[in-house]
Subunit: 705 residues, 2 copies
């Protein structure tokens, strides 16, 4: 999921100075509260962040869903390999497989245009008052939520009218409390400059995803172009390179263990100020169910893929996506088991409650907040098992999505007046035909049958009270599995919705027929669709109520934690600092903070995740085996920090951030010196590959190396 | 495979002193060549090994297929948990699940008799001259090999007649060169004393097999009993505990990093003096084929097991056995990729050849040895792909074994004279009915069909020249896989050999009918059986030739390596020493040499390989989290060292050896300070578990703790 990408320059919170050192995704406005000089920074704070002049922040750029940074005064951007992947794939054709072979533009004219857009922050301002205007007068959570959305929409609309050339977005800085409006300049002509071979940029593949030690050259170079007038413009051959207000200098000597480093980037979302019940929901329901269900899907796809090379290729990206989530969840669950995060949060919550209860004024204002939050979670937990499953039914099976939707619309159709029927059909089907087509990516019959069987079995064996009525018949059978399998085998091929061609034709040419269609799966799918709608309504109500309650809890938390309170990440620009440092991932295991070329050669294979072409292997064999490849640091990052520059004590570029260690997946819930470690590709490896493999002396020269 | 278990006290080799320190599985007779005092031993050598008096060697005992040691003067033996496993399973019944619950005899009378026998060495002598007597006169390798076997058989027979109360065995100490005759005393009444819960003794299961860091309490206690006269006797209630000549004292304080330790034990087999071609055969053919084929079988069994709990249980031990091999092979292949073992061996072989060629006298005697060895290996490698597969066909499919055997006997039957026919059938079937029954462990039709399909597909797609004639028809099909699948589906159920009941009945009641049976699988199985026989004949010839050539190569190697030459392990008693030491299994990873109770709690789960009962978890939570569990040392061990005592510089027991680290699987090919590490359970963990979980204060007292 690509998060809204906003910059938090203007956030003003009422906390004093930070007591802990390395923890924290600091909003820039709060940086003055940390003693960065003592921490090791050898620059004045103003050279990092200076609202009145130029600073390193201006070398930051959003490219696609990632972070990048300018590394020359001619618009050269460094970011991750995986951030350029889509653009490289689009630029490739059977004769030019840039994914496999990599791509190096030997001169400017050879740089390849992409559809990537880049954003630079133009300005921003606090708009909390306008966003919250009139909300206190509304007590109904749903109405309040609608008013808040309307306020934001109006704000954006008004501002956009004033600045038609800029992008306007409003970002929530503290839930229900603090909002900032951002104006972005958008650069529309971004070109590929250098992308190493996939075997370098993705080395380690899924095996090494979320893993340290790492040996991945996950970097790429792009260049931003503007019109001849220096203003943002769509691609044109005679566009000129963009001149950024600031760019990063390279430190070709890199850093060493225990050196001070910092990162500027856009961490996506953390849950550190959520109540303990949130963690329990994640740990007891969300993560175990989703990871088990994704694992099951992966197993099925791998099994089918083993017997059919074409299927293996067709399933590859889906497997990769599911595996990324399931590995992250397993890391988090392992982390929650090995640490006291949940118990700590509970203790923390109890501390907040005690503080409130011991102070009559606080008790008066906040006395019921925790009970109300707890009530909402108890309600959510009561049917969590069913609801998580319902959420997967329609995203896992295209047949079920179509059957459920049609069943639901047939039901609605009954109440439509005769005169309105054509209009209803046009609205519900003709206008939406494109989105209603079956999800082709999972339209493999054997796979879908297996998924449907498993989904129905799960539903039919839910505890009484959660079990949907349409599955009761199955759950009364002596062999539930057998009866479901037989039902699916008997009806799958017969179903209109398993016949993509026939269904699509009807959808596009005679949608009215869909109002009369009978299908063996429609009864179940229709019932589940209704259940899902009911759940979503209930969930919306709960979220609206939390939108009022959580800001109160944050008030209390701020009072309680005082100087140590930190707002959660929200895809806005944050600063985080710390040190190059190894760690112990488990009893008797130590991970050192640098990997080396020798480690690539240890892992290298002629197939699979560690595939490395022989000519690259030979090239690396001729390098110093102790050349640094990747490095590890105790900085506080999360998803969204991809491509962020890692800078040394002088603000020079020493690496590019791209992942976290397995144990650090739990960062989203809590940061901890013992297990929170992030992974970057070392600038020395970037330079080695650019020079020796990419033959990119011209790029090195441009970067002043 | 349980190797012949022999003790190498009498081996005399003609090498001087050892230059490297920690490497080596030393025959005891060679110990005086190492400066053990300098290495850290604080005992006189005679207290370890003293042919004229008592020494630590006499505390050693073979129990079943493992090593054990006496730890009290009343016959108490400590060994591994996995060495007692079979006996514990046999002693369990539905009411007493000692496997799961563990077993502690609160008093002597409660100790449980087993079928385990134990051996103690009585005496030994060099018999090389007798074994090699008359061999030089025979030039035909096969005839020479038969004569050697006959010499050994006669020796054993003569000796056995002299000592009917002892076990007699002859062991080859250096291939084709040196032989020792051993006389063993056999203790026949071995009882179970204490076995911890499986969740302690097998903690980590298959996941942690061949893995460090390890947290397994792989130990158990038994007791040896003898008749009232002190002589070995079968079990009798009034037998008395055996008094060993020597027993080990416990050091309850254990050892620390870098401390000197040594092991006495029976390492099985190593291949360090084999030529480079042997390693290439292993690395290019044997290990990749077998691990792929075993992985395939494991996958199929896991897949079928997921859908059927009963099958999961039925397949469990087979999966465990295959997984043990495949993980070992993968460790070795990774090791061979990451190290220069093969290149080193080649260089070594080239050095030997150069030495021979540069010396006219040597050239005259040994000039053709390397070419001849190479010729034999070239022949072996040429059809290795087919031969490894042929070797698996009949061990993987019971149907193929039966069909192949019957087809082969039908062929032989054609040449049998009428009068001899009854006799032939009696010899071939009646007398062997028990062994000819289908292998029940794989008699699951769906599994067997999958295995047969895969085996036939492999055979039909072998390169021309290696492809068996009976599979030619398949290999000409446009879709080979499809045609094989169809053939198997069509014929499997029809086959007599897939019908265990019918086949067994015929085998036992009317074997003559088998001479007339026609079966759809017999043509292929019969052809493959013939091919396998031919291969085995050729292989026997090659081995016979090597039996003459390898001793010559060892002669040369001894001359070349001089003081560093070490004989390969051969299941006879060896001494190995070194230090408690961590290592780096891969770039940026360090493994410390001690694991702790906190690591058990990190891994503990309520299911799977890390299952730990809640009451045990609670008990361990109350212990010091930094209590030592297992430890790591750079000693030179291999399979067969299971249960070996690990002793400190004063000869006191500090742990029990039970496994090697993943990287050390390559030990069988070469020892190396960087990756050769073995794993033992620390005596402190043994004592903690005995006391706190087993409530075994009486055992601690008996051991003097």
């Amino acid at each position: 999921m690509i998060k809204k990408t906003l910059i938090a320059l203007g956030l003003c919170l009422s906390f004093s100075s930070f007591s802990t050192l390395e923890e924290g995704m600091f909003p820039l406005s709060e940086l003055h509260r940390v003693d960065l000089e003592k921490a090791g920074l050898k620059l004045p704070l103003k050279s990092i962040y200076n609202p009145e002049g130029t600073s390193l922040v201006q070398a930051l750029v959003r490219v696609g869903g990632c972070t990048g940074s300018f590394v020359s005064n001619e618009g050269l951007i460094i970011t991750n390999h995986h951030c350029a992947f889509g653009a490289v794939a689009a630029a490739s054709d059977p004769e030019h497989d840039y994914i496999t072979e990599g791509f190096m533009a030997k001169e400017r004219s050879k740089e390849i245009p992409t559809s990537i857009k880049a954003r630079i922050t133009a300005s921003y301002e606090d708009v909390s008052a306008q966003v919250l205007n009139g909300l206190n007068a509304i007590s109904d959570p749903a109405a309040r939520s609608m008013k808040l959305d309307a306020n934001i929409e109006q704000l954006v609309k008004d501002e956009q009218a004033k600045h038609p050339d800029l992008l306007i977005e409003v970002s929530e800085m503290l839930q229900g409390k603090s909002y900032t409006l951002f104006r972005y300049q958008e650069l529309k002509d971004i070109r590929l400059v250098y992308v190493p071979q996939r075997s370098i940029g993705e080395f380690g593949g899924e095996s090494d995803n979320w893993v340290w030690p790492r040996h991945t050259g996950d970097f790429s170079f792009m260049r931003a172009y503007v019109g001849k007038d220096g203003q943002p413009a769509e691609y044109a051959e005679d566009n000129i390179p963009y001149t950024p207000k600031e760019f990063l200098k390279i430190n070709p000597n890199g850093v060493k263990e225990n050196d001070f480093v910092f990162i500027l980037g856009y961490p996506g979302r953390t849950y550190r100020n959520q109540p303990a019940q949130f963690l329990e929901y994640q740990n007891t329901y969300q993560m175990p169910y989703i990871s088990q269900w994704f694992d099951f899907q992966i197993e099925q796809m791998q099994e089918l893929g083993r017997e059919d090379k074409a299927l293996e290729i067709a399933f590859a990206s889906r497997i990769k996506r599911l595996a990324n989530t399931t590995k992250n969840y397993k890391g988090k669950m392992q982390g929650l088991q090995r640490t006291s995060v949940i118990a700590d949060r509970k203790k923390d919550d109890e501390g907040l409650m005690a503080m409130v209860n011991n102070d009559p004024a606080l008790k008066n204002e906040y006395g019921t907040v925790f009970q109300e939050i707890d009530q909402i979670y108890q309600e959510k937990l009561a049917t969590a098992q069913r609801d998580l499953w319902l959420g997967q039914v329609f995203s896992s099976s295209g047949l079920f999505f179509s059957a459920g939707y049609v069943a639901n619309r047939q039901e609605a159709y009954k109440d439509v007046k005769k005169a309105d029927r054509d209009n209803f059909i046009a609205m519900e089907f003709v206008n939406r035909a494109a989105t209603l087509k079956r999800n082709g990516s999972i339209a493999h019959p054997e796979l879908e049958k297996r998924l449907i069987k498993a989904l129905l079995y799960y539903g039919a064996t839910l505890p009484e009270g959660q079990r949907p009525a349409s599955l009761e018949a199955f759950s009364k059978e002596s062999d539930i599995k057998e009866s479901i399998d037989a039902f699916v085998e008997k009806n799958y091929a017969k179903s209109l919705f398993s016949n993509t061609e026939k269904y699509t034709e009807m959808l596009e040419k005679s949608p009215a027929k869909l109002m009369k269609v009978k299908d063996p799966f429609m009864e179940i799918a229709g019932d589940l669709w209704t259940q899902l709608m009911k759940y979503q309504d209930a969930e919306k109500k709960r979220q609206d109520a939390l939108t009022i309650l959580l800001p109160k809890m944050i008030d209390i938390r701020q009072m309680y934690q005082k100087s140590t309170f930190l707002p959660d990440a929200n895809s806005t620009l944050r600063f985080t600092y710390g040190y190059i440092r190894g760690y112990s991932p488990a009893d008797a295991e130590v991970h050192n903070p640098f990997t080396h070329v020798k480690g690539i050669l240890e892992k290298a294979s002629n197939s699979g995740d560690y595939y490395l072409e022989e000519y690259i292997q030979k090239l690396l064999e001729s390098a110093d085996p102790m050349s640094i490849v990747c490095f590890l640091y105790n900085l506080d990052t999360t998803g969204g920090n991809s491509g962020s520059p890692i800078m040394d004590d002088k603000g020079q570029l020493v690496g590019v951030n791209f992942d976290r260690a397995y144990t650090a997946t739990i960062n989203d819930f809590a940061w901890n010196e013992e297990y929170s470690r992030s992974i970057g590709v070392d600038i020395r490896y970037v330079l080695l590959i650019v020079k020796e493999l990419g033959k990119g002396d011209h790029l090195l020269k441009e970067m002043g190396v």
